[in-house]
């Protein structure tokens, strides 16, 4: 199994405040890895640092190539799709335009058209609403749209920031089912940040636990889920 993403001694800063204190972790090609941790642990910052949206030092390698000091928009071109916290929907544009924007760096028009149809097959509700302004969608629908928009890049790695946030439990189940399917069938590696540890551990194969900007635990998702001590002290369930 080859390493797709390799993060080494990552430190990130908001102004003078240091948010990450030397994070080291890696993600295998084809895996679905989750980063767990409480509020303020540094999960979102980690994803933002990978896409160079926050000042950071340390090594970030994607498929053997260093990502440091590359602009956010050029990192996308390596095949890294980031679904930000809050979903980042283009609310004033239609659902279909949102999908087209996901593929804005691609040049293969025929492929884009067929991928939009593929997304509508994954998420039938988006097809029903394809001419609607994206801002009028419900939270769950917007999260589906955000995932679909990211997939339009045909990414090798998808970064998901709290996809379950603000969604009804049933919708979350649905969404996670689709994520698992995308991971298996479309061979997209996924790094998902979650507060809903129980659900994320069910879905993931690898897991890391972050606390105040450091990795405190790592391993097979099943082992972590089965270890009562870890669950109680870090994951709170």
């Amino acid at each position: 199994m080859t390493t797709l993403l390799n993060v080494k001694d990552l430190r990130a800063y908001y102004g003078q405040v240091q948010a990450l204190h030397g994070l080291t972790f890696s993600l295998n090609e084809g895996s679905l890895t989750t980063l767990l941790g409480a509020n303020g642990a540094g999960k979102t910052t980690t994803l933002r640092a990978i896409c160079n949206m926050v000042r950071s030092t340390g090594g970030i390698e994607f498929d053997g190539k260093p990502l440091n000091n590359r602009s956010t928009e050029s990192i996308v071109r390596y095949g890294i799709a980031h679904v930000p916290q809050g979903r980042g929907t283009f609310t004033t544009m239609t659902v279909e335009e949102n999908l087209q924007l996901g593929a804005i760096t691609r040049k293969d028009n025929a492929g884009i058209v067929s991928d939009i149809e593929r997304m509508y097959a994954h998420f039938p509700v988006l097809k029903q609403r394809h001419t609607q302004q994206a801002g009028t969608l419900s939270g769950g629908e917007q999260q589906m749209l955000a995932v679909a928009r990211a997939l339009m890049l045909r990414p090798r790695l998808m970064l998901l920031d709290e996809p379950s946030f603000g969604l009804a439990p049933l919708v979350v189940r649905d969404l996670f089912g689709i994520l698992g399917k995308i991971n298996r069938e479309d061979k997209v590696s996924i790094l998902v940040v979650e507060q809903n540890a129980q659900l994320a551990l069910e879905l993931a194969d690898q897991a890391y636990v972050i606390e105040t900007g450091r990795i405190v635990m790592s391993g097979n998702a099943k082992d972590i889920a089965n270890n009562e001590e870890i669950r109680k002290s870090y994951l709170g369930y």
């Binding site: 602009s71 799709a81 930000p84 980042g88 929907t89 283009f90 609310t91 544009m93 924007l101």
Partner: protein, 292 residues
């Protein structure tokens, strides 16, 4: 009745120019959240360039095209050199930047071409349009060119990838970067296009107001008024606002006793203030809710 029709048509013709200026202002406002006070001076400078080209013997439409290209490049250059470094600066720093730009362009134009009033040609002539006394061929030309421009812009923003990318960059910059759009260049492109649109407005209005460094002062105030009336967040609103302001200005000047040519401007602005009291976001604008 003929007077009324005549005034409405004349209002549409000048309104077309206000619509162009309003659109230029809105494009830059959408991109960087600031009002470009120098938009009129930039248009005036472009108009002088076209005049200079014609003085050198370039035919009208050749000068028109070259001026558009130069204005586009000039707009991008202004953004890259002056406003990109100010992107994260406080509002007042940007305002100072715009005022400086205004003063620099205004005095440079005076220095190069002096402040005397110059005749500016019209390619449409000024005979009655289709034999009707209601509207002149130049006024019809102003309307026609503006309509073509607006249609072109509509198709550009609605149906091209780069137009889509520009809209995305203006509406949610962070998400735009995350799908791979170079938002910084989209802003520069917006400046280039806004400057070229302003140049069209300047070249169309110059035969009416005559060419001189302060020719766009009044026009820009109407353009601002149109943008605010239609809603600064809505390009469509800005265009509608432009036509409304043009028509209202003319009708007020004709029909309200004691207004005449001198008081047209305050009356038009008073109308706008009354609209804003009722609809603060403008006729077509969205209310912007910001978290504090």
């Amino acid at each position: 009745m003929e007077l009324f029709t005549n005034q409405v048509l004349a209002g549409i013709a000048t309104g077309a120019i206000y619509a162009c200026m309003a659109l230029a202002v809105v494009m830059i406002y959408q991109a960087i959240d600031h009002l470009n006070f120098a938009q009129g001076e930039m248009a005036m400078f472009s108009t002088f360039i076209s005049w200079q080209l014609m003085q050198w013997g370039v035919p009208y439409w050749g000068a028109f095209a070259i001026t558009l290209a130069l204005s586009f490049i000039g707009g991008i250059a202004i953004e890259r050199i002056l406003f990109k470094p100010l992107a994260k600066a406080p509002v007042l720093t940007n305002v100072a930047g715009f005022i400086a730009l205004f003063a620099i362009i205004n005095s440079s134009a005076g220095l190069i071409w002096d402040f005397t009033i110059k005749q500016y040609p019209t390619p449409f002539g000024s005979s009655p349009f289709l034999g009707s006394q209601l509207i002149s061929t130049h006024q019809a030309g102003m309307i026609g060119v503006t309509v073509l421009l607006l249609l072109g812009l509509y198709f550009f923003f609605q149906y091209t990838r780069i137009g889509l990318a520009m809209r995305a960059a203006a509406s949610v910059p962070e998400s735009a970067r995350l799908v791979g759009i170079n938002t910084s260049w989209m802003i520069a492109l917006g400046w280039g296009m806004a400057t070229a649109i302003g140049a069209i407005a300047g070249m169309l209005i110059a035969p009416v107001v005559f060419l001189e460094p302060n020719m766009m002062g009044g026009v820009l105030i109407y353009g601002f008024a149109a943008a605010v009336l239609g809603g600064l967040t809505s390009p469509f609103g800005a265009v509608v606002g432009g036509f409304l302001v043009g028509i209202f200005e003319n009708l007020a000047g004709t029909y309200i006793p004691g207004v005449g040519n001198e008081l047209k401007l305050p009356i038009a602005l008073a109308l706008i203030i009354s609209v804003l009291v009722v609809k603060p976001a403008g006729l077509f604008g969205r209310h912007i809710v910001k978290r504090v």
